[in-house]
């Protein structure tokens, strides 16, 4: 890799011998590769060949086992930034595919430690029992995310119809230049936003009420788009997956053409990982 600091005595092709690309003994702090961690799984899982990880070329996924748990890892070059779309997708795809088969504790994107020994000594070892309890709780469960997005014309049409002040402000700015109606535009947009938010809350409540009885746990996610209608994560028993999906479908059919509803999953339980640390619960 050109552009590093010129240490050559430890340079090795890391993709050829991932196990040995650990120059710590020779250099102290300058490293060619780190160990990227995707998530934690029970120790009795087997990897199918050829899953692809983050990096370019994609890292080979390996298991670091310790006791009854294991970490999904791959080597990653440290001299290139991570976070290309392919990296993000590789991270989530691996975890979601895993979650479809076995319990998994997903790590947030970007977790890198020095090497595989560190995975055992600092991550798996000290937290073995807590991770194992969490994995056992997740046995037979996976996350589903329901995302709904309003059709803008429809939802704003509703707001216009239901709110005289919105309609009045719209009349006020009609045909007038933006500069002359700045305040009215801001006020109009703010009002519309408030009413859309109220609709979002109401629709979210209906959805949660319908699906909570079919779920183990629910986390209402923050809206990530101004036309978001619902954005909710559910932890669902695999046995009830079909039932859950059916309710979502029925909900979508009942929605009177106000938007689109999507169901993502099964996913790794990103919204439900708890290990007794306050950090984990920020839905």
């Amino acid at each position: 890799m050109p552009g590093s600091t010129g240490r050559t005595e430890t340079a090795r092709p890391e993709d050829a011998r991932p196990e040995t690309a650990r120059p710590e003994d020779a250099t102290g702090h300058e490293r060619a590769t780190g160990c990227y961690i995707y998530g934690i799984v029970p120790g009795d899982v087997e990897l199918d060949p050829d899953p692809r990880g983050v990096g370019d070329p994609p890292g080979r996924i390996q298991l670091v086992r310790h006791g009854e748990i294991a970490a999904l890892v791959s080597d990653v070059a440290l001299d290139r930034p991570l976070g290309r779309p392919d990296d993000l997708v590789a991270h989530q795809r691996l975890l979601d595919a895993t979650a479809a088969e076995v319990p998994v504790l997903p790590l947030r994107f970007g977790a890198v430690v020095t090497d595989r020994e560190a995975v055992v000594e600092e991550l798996l070892g000290p937290n073995h029992d807590g991770f194992l309890v969490a994995l056992n709780e997740l046995e037979g469960r996976a996350e589903y995310v329901v995302k709904g997005r309003y059709v803008e014309r429809v939802v704003i049409g509703e707001v216009l119809e239901e709110n005289a002040e919105v309609a009045r402000l719209r009349e006020e700015i009609r045909g007038k230049p933006e500069e002359a109606t700045w305040d009215a535009r801001i006020r109009l947009g703010e009002l519309v936003g408030e009413h859309v938010a109220a609709k979002r809350d109401a629709d979210t409540e209906v959805l949660v009420n319908a699906l909570a009885p079919r779920s183990v746990a629910v986390v209402v996610r923050e809206p990530t788009h101004e036309q978001d209608a619902v954005h909710v994560a559910f932890l669902v028993e695999s046995e009830r997956q079909a039932e859950f999906e059916q309710v979502v479908d029925e909900f979508g059919d009942r929605w009177p053409g106000r938007g689109t509803l999507r169901l993502l999953g099964p996913l790794a339980p990103y919204d439900f990982v708890t290990t007794g640390r306050p950090e984990g619960d920020n839905g």
Binding site: E122, V192, H225, E226
Partner: protein, 141 residues
């Protein structure tokens, strides 16, 4: 089926915006944080992730909503087959015309929804293939 797999890429090309947005919504601020568990051997790798999420309550959003509300009006003015609505508008009657446009839009959107619900699970089938499959030894015993 409303089923959609979460992966980006797929038929519409890698990193299609909705797929990638779904990923970003999920893995950048959710999941276990390694810093809570690992300190000594933590490697601070440079991340180039872009936060594409928008702040829902902001002046930008307000202006967009205002513009969208305004545009709704314009669509109506140039809309096809809405003579009654045109009349109402010239008389400055607010309620009846908004009702007309809301109903029209809801019908149109209803068709769109059905279309999306119908075919959303097929193009993503391929995305599931490259992912690793695992078997638990425990289950085989």
């Amino acid at each position: 089926m409303t089923m959609v797999q979460p992966a980006g890429g797929g038929a519409s090309g890698r990193g299609s915006s909705s797929g990638l947005a779904d990923v970003i919504d999920t893995i950048l601020d959710k999941g276990l944080v390694i810093d809570a568990f690992v300190r000594v051997s933590l490697v601070g790798i440079e991340l180039v992730t872009i936060d594409v999420r928008i702040v829902v309550a902001s002046v930008d959003t307000y202006l967009r909503f205002a513009e969208a509300t305004n545009r709704l009006d314009l669509t109506q003015t140039g809309g096809k087959g809405l003579p009654e609505v045109m009349q109402d508008m010239t008389q400055g009657v607010g309620r009846s015309k908004t009702k007309g446009i809301a109903q029209g839009a809801m019908e149109a959107a209803g068709e769109k929804l059905r279309g999306l619900v119908g075919d959303s699970d097929e193009p993503d089938e391929e995305d599931r293939e490259p992912a690793p499959r695992r078997r638990r030894r425990r289950e085989e015993e």
